[in-house]
Structures are given as structure tokens and as C-alpha cells.
Amino acid sequence: MKRALLAALCLFACAAHGAALRPGAANVSYSVWIVSGSSVLVRFLLPTPVARSLTGIDVPVLTTRKLGDYVLQHLDVQAAGRNCPAVDQGYDLGKVDPLAVGADLYGFEILFRCPAASALALHDHALFAHAPGHVNFARIEKDGHTVQQLFTANRQTLSVPDGVAMPSAGVASYLGLGAMHIALSVDRLCLLLGSLLLIRRKEEAGHAFAALLVGYAAALLGSTPGWIVARPTLLEPFMGYMVALLAALITLRELRQPRISALGCPALLAILALAAAFTHAPWAALMLFGGAVLAGSLLTASAWLSAPVGLVPLALLGFLDGFTLPSALAPLHLSPRSQLWMTAGFDAGAVLIAALAMGTVLGVFALVRERLTAAPRTLLNEIAAACLGGLGTFWLVSRLYS
């Protein structure tokens, strides 16, 4: 019955958010606010995929000028309750100066001149209207003091205190970000809840959570020095792959249909790897080939290692998800120390919400276990595995080729 409940939860989660996420499109932007007396110079950076998402909504056709106008309309500065107008920067630039900030970013600079230098309030309304999950990583510089802050849909205004140093965004802000990140990621939820289908004893639940923790911890260690970075365009397809792999593990372990799982999953991945190789996507092909070998080996190993195999997808989830924030923060070129506590807060939030989701489901199951003993377990497991397999494959293929 536990599995029936989990299967239903998985289906509910999948129904709540059926569309694939855009690969590599972290929904973030960046801003630097330099406060100098009564002037505020804003540099606003927008990743190209996020800028493209505005096309047809707020920007009819994506050009630097149109995007600059959009940014100008959505950034404001107020001083003592009065608006600070944007200053015409001369030549033929107008009020928005486009910046060269790299191939994958749009950059704009706007200078606001305020009637007073006190009670400054910085407003950022860009993108929140059509992307409530959007986050703007803001750096605010005033009197030689620099702080990291966040603009979110719920916090589109930041007040700059007079006379005292502005505090940085606390760990709680990043904790909230991490929690929201997991709570809104259907694929990750599917993976977390689906992995519970492989748990048979209480101690295995603890092992599963420990595997997730180990994954996040390893990612924290690996990402902090900044030596390696994830390829975001492949990270999201790999999440889909892991959901499909989990479905294969469930099929193999619970339903005893080794041929379907042990051959089908690696074969599908091998075909996709070949397709990727033919489409001149070598890294995608390598990832898929590695995935095929991993799936084949893991599914074979599950015959003699009953408990640990279910932990591999969870550990991998933690490890790969641990690179989400470092990838998003890359354009800010933060110091390893600053990035460490931000990432630690984000990961802690993700782990907490994962623990909450897994714990809630297990708790609910513990409560209703006695009453629901006659449910057709095998059928529900089959449904859950089929749903996970279908969704995982869909996410893998659609994200790989979108």
C-alpha cells in the first residue's frame, strides 16, 4: 500500500507540472547597484535564454534596444519617497547604455540621479510578472562596502539604510531559494518520491537521505574551488535520465522483469547516444553513452546488491543539484568564500525540503498502513514505474533536443 500511495503522489506531482523545463535556462539575472551620493549606477545583466523568454510577451522582437527599454521600464530608484529619473547618457545612447558582457549575456547600464541622497529604495520589477520564480542576484556597493542581496517576486524593493552598512542577504534567503528550487522541480520530486518505492525497511529511509546528503556535500566540495562547472544544457536532461533509471530499477526490483529493464533502458540510451553523435553533439553523446553503461551495470548489479543500488540515483541527484547555484552564480565571479556560504544555504534548503517531502510521505504511509492492506500493490507499482519511465524519457529526450 505504501507503494500505491507513493505512486499516487508521483502522479499528482507529475500532473501538477507536466511541461519540460527549458534546459540550461536558469531563471536568474544579475544586477550591480553602485550608490554614490545621490546617484545610483545600475548594471543589469540578463542571460540570453532568459531574455529570449521575454520575446512576444514584453519585448516584441529581441533586440538590444528593445530589451534596454524593457529594463529601463522595470528598474526604479527612489530617494526619500521621490522618484529618481534616469539620466540621458549622451551621444545617441539615451538613458540605457548597452554593455559588452560576454556572448551569453545582455548587459545594460542606467544612471539614476536622485533629488536626495537619503532613504534610498532600489526597485527591480523585471521578469517577475511572467516568471514568479525568477531571482535577481544583486550586488550593492555603497561607500566602499559591498553586499550581496536578492530580488525575488516577493521582494522587489531593497531599502538602503542611511549611515549604517547595508546587510547582505542572510543564509535564510538562500535556504528559501534552495527549498523553492526543489519544491518547484517536478523531476527532482519524482526522483525523491520515486526512490521511496525501493525502500522496504526504516533504516533504508535513513540510508536514502544520507545518500542525498553525501551527494550535496560532494558537490559543495567540488564546486567551491571553481575548477569544474556543470554544462547546464546537459544537467537537466540527465535529471530526466535518472528518473527513467529509477523507473527501470523499480521494474527490476519490484516486478521482476529483468529483461525489460536491464536491456531496454541501456538500449534506449545507446540509441540516443548514437543520435547525439550523428548530430555532432559529442558531450551529449558521451553523457548518454556513460548513462547507458551506468544503467546497464547498475541494473545488473541490482541482482546482487539489493539495498545500495537505490541510493545511487539519490546520491547523483544531490551531487548534480549541488551544482545548480554555483552555475547560476558563475557570471558574478564571487570569491570561493562568498559562494560557499551561499551554496551551503541553498543546498541546506534543498535538503530540508527533500527531507520534508520524503518524511511526509513516509509519515502518511505509516499512519494509513494498517487500514490499506488490500490494495493491488503490483499494479500500482507498475503504474508508478510506467509513469516515471515515461516522464523520465520524455524529459531526457525533450531537454536534449530542445
Binding site: T63, T64, R65, L93, P98, L99, A100, G226, W227, I228, V229, A230, R231, L234, L235, F238, W283, A284, A285, L286, M287, L288, F289, G290, G291, A292, V293, L294, A295, G296, S297, L298, T300, A301, A303, W304, L305, V312, L320, F323, A330
Partner: protein, 319 residues
């Protein structure tokens, strides 16, 4: 005694080693473990990459990096040679530094132009880019020098291009039917009068005399001086010009009936259209040939680009 102890110790060590050496993981465990490790390694290589380093040193073959964009050493050599008009070996360090500075300035301006999206907004930049692409597409074709046969074939096919326009000074006299002196004059009578006037003109009578005698006047269709054929055609119209084009200098046409009366044309001066022969026109043929090749390459390029592009027209628009 000591030797015996050593032997015993060796035997014990060997006995401890044997189980270790003979230890074999079950086949079913070993291969999947290797597979898992290999799979994770492959997938990891695909999923992760080394963080791209911020270049702080100039790579070999480059003279400078401007916002991480390189200025090639070979470009610096070409620019210095062209600008200073002497071999690069003779260029002084100061001159080289000056040329490099100019190239860096240019690179900064180009980057700024791209940031400002000038290709999207400025007509001159768009024209320069269009011309640049056209030149690049045509360059391989223009590198091949055309043979005389190709040029001659081109000349034959486009002979009209090398024909200079003729000119004429023509006098157009008109006899209005039913004019002031004879209101009942018919068209046939007017034609007889005009024919007689033509006869007298051809016989050597003066134009003024004939005009006065037969009541002819200047139509006002032609200029006093010589005019190019195309202008004369425009002035005389479709009825009179074909007749004028057949007249030689000094000739008088037969009477021509038109809507406003009977016309008589007198060709006072005539320069016929001339076609330059191939040898004379060779350089013009060469230039035209290359221009046509260039245009054809550009058209073909645009055709390919169109086939690859997604072009959506607004409702009501057409191209």
C-alpha cells in the same frame, strides 16, 4: 636458529598472502562495479567541464587580446606593411606600437558597435555589411580570370550595352487640316498639299518659302538643337519617331498623317547609333562581366539564405 626463524616467518607471510592472491570477487559483482564506475566517469566527463579560464596571457600567434578577443600577429604585420609602405622587417618598434594601438582602438570601436547593435539600427553599417558579404561570396569566382572566349560570348550576348546612342536635329512641320485659310479642306486635300510641299523641299526649295506657300508651321515637338534619340522619341511620339529614325541627314520624309494634321519631317543633322567592336570595348566588357558574375553569386547566396531562413510576413504584406 636465526636462519630457521627467517624461513618460518617467510612461510607464514606466504600463507597470509595466498588467500589474498587467490581472492576473486564474484564475477557478477566485479563487472557491474567496473561498469558503474566507467558509466559515471563517461557521464561525468560529458556533464562537467573545466571552468573556462579568464585569459591573462596572450596566446601564441596573437599580438594582443582586447576583451578576450584576439588581434592576430599576421594581421598586425599586414596592417603595418600596408600602412607604412615598407617591409615589416624595416618597421621600427615605435611604428609597430603605433599600428597596434590603432588596431586595438579599432577593435574596441567594433566591439562597441556590436554592443550598440549598430547592424540592426544603422543604415550605413547594414550597407557595409551587405557589401562585405557580397564581396566575400563573389571573391572565389572573381579570382578566376575570364578567357577571351568567355568575354567575347558575353559581348555578343550583350551587344546593346556597347552601342552608343545616336542623336538627331529634326524639323517637324505640320499642316493643320481645315486651318485658317481653308476651313473646308479635307484630309485628302491636305495630303495633296503636303505631298507637293515635300516635292518642292526635295527639289531644293527653301523651308521658309514652302512653309509660307503651303501654310506649314513648326509643330513645336522638337528642340532647336540636336537631341539624343531617346529624347527625340519622347518628343515626336510613336507615330513620327519611327519615320524620323529612318531618315538620313538632309532627307525629307513623306507626309505623315497624325491626329493634329499632316506632318513633314526634315532631318537637318543626324548621328547614327554606333556599336563599339570587341577590341575597343574589351575593358568595359571585362568590368561588366565581373559585375554580372558578382551579382549572380550574390543572388545565389541570397537564394540559399532564403531557403534556410524563416521569413514571416505581416498580414497584408507581400514581397
Amino acid at each position: 636458529m636465526a636462519t630457521h626463524d627467517i624461513h618460518v616467518e617467510r612461510r607464514r607471510s606466504r600463507a597470509r598472502l595466498i588467500p589474498l592472491l587467490t581472492l576473486r570477487l564474484p564475477r557478477s559483482a566485479l563487472l557491474p562495479s567496473i561498469g558503474i564506475a566507467a558509466g559515471l566517469l563517461c557521464a561525468g566527463i560529458g556533464l562537467f567541464q573545466r571552468a573556462p579560464p579568464e585569459r591573462s596571457t596572450v596566446p601564441p600567434g596573437y599580438a594582443a587580446l582586447v576583451n578576450q578577443k584576439g588581434i592576430l600577429e599576421s594581421d598586425l604585420i599586414s596592417q603595418a606593411t600596408a600602412e607604412l609602405g615598407k617591409p615589416f622587417a624595416e618597421v621600427t618598434p615605435a611604428e609597430r606600437a603605433r599600428v597596434l594601438r590603432e588596431m586595438i582602438d579599432e577593435e574596441l570601436l567594433v566591439q562597441r558597435a556590436m554592443t550598440l547593435d549598430l547592424p540592426e539600427t544603422t543604415t550605413e553599417v547594414r550597407e557595409a555589411m551587405t557589401a562585405g558579404v557580397g564581396a566575400q561570396v563573389a571573391a572565389p569566382l572573381l579570382a578566376e580570370q575570364p578567357t577571351d572566349e568567355q568575354l567575347r560570348a558575353y559581348y555578343d550576348a550583350h551587344r546593346s550595352k556597347y552601342t552608343t546612342d545616336g542623336s538627331m536635329q529634326v524639323r517637324d512641320l505640320i499642316l493643320h487640316i481645315g486651318g485658317y485659310e481653308n476651313a473646308d479642306q479635307s484630309e485628302a486635300q491636305a495630303k495633296i498639299d503636303a505631298t507637293e510641299a515635300v516635292y518642292q523641299l526635295r527639289s531644293g526649295a527653301s523651308v521658309d518659302y514652302v512653309m509660307e506657300h503651303f501654310g506649314l508651321t513648326d509643330s513645336g515637338h522638337t528642340l532647336n538643337g540636336s537631341e539624343p534619340d531617346f529624347a527625340a522619341k519622347l518628343h515626336l511620339g510613336d507615330t513620327l519617331y519611327p519615320v524620323a529614325a529612318t531618315l538620313n541627314e538632309g532627307e525629307v520624309s513623306d507626309p505623315i498623317s497624325d491626329k493634329d494634321g499632316m506632318h513633314v519631317l526634315i532631318m537637318e543633322r543626324r548621328r547614327l547609333p554606333t556599336t563599339a567592336d570587341f577590341t575597343t570595348a574589351r575593358s568595359a566588357v571585362y568590368a561588366d562581366y565581373r559585375e554580372d558574375v558578382s551579382r549572380a553569386a550574390e543572388r545565389e547566396n541570397v537564394r540559399i539564405l532564403r531557403s534556410q531562413a524563416q521569413i514571416i510576413l505581416a498580414p497584408g504584406e507581400s514581397e
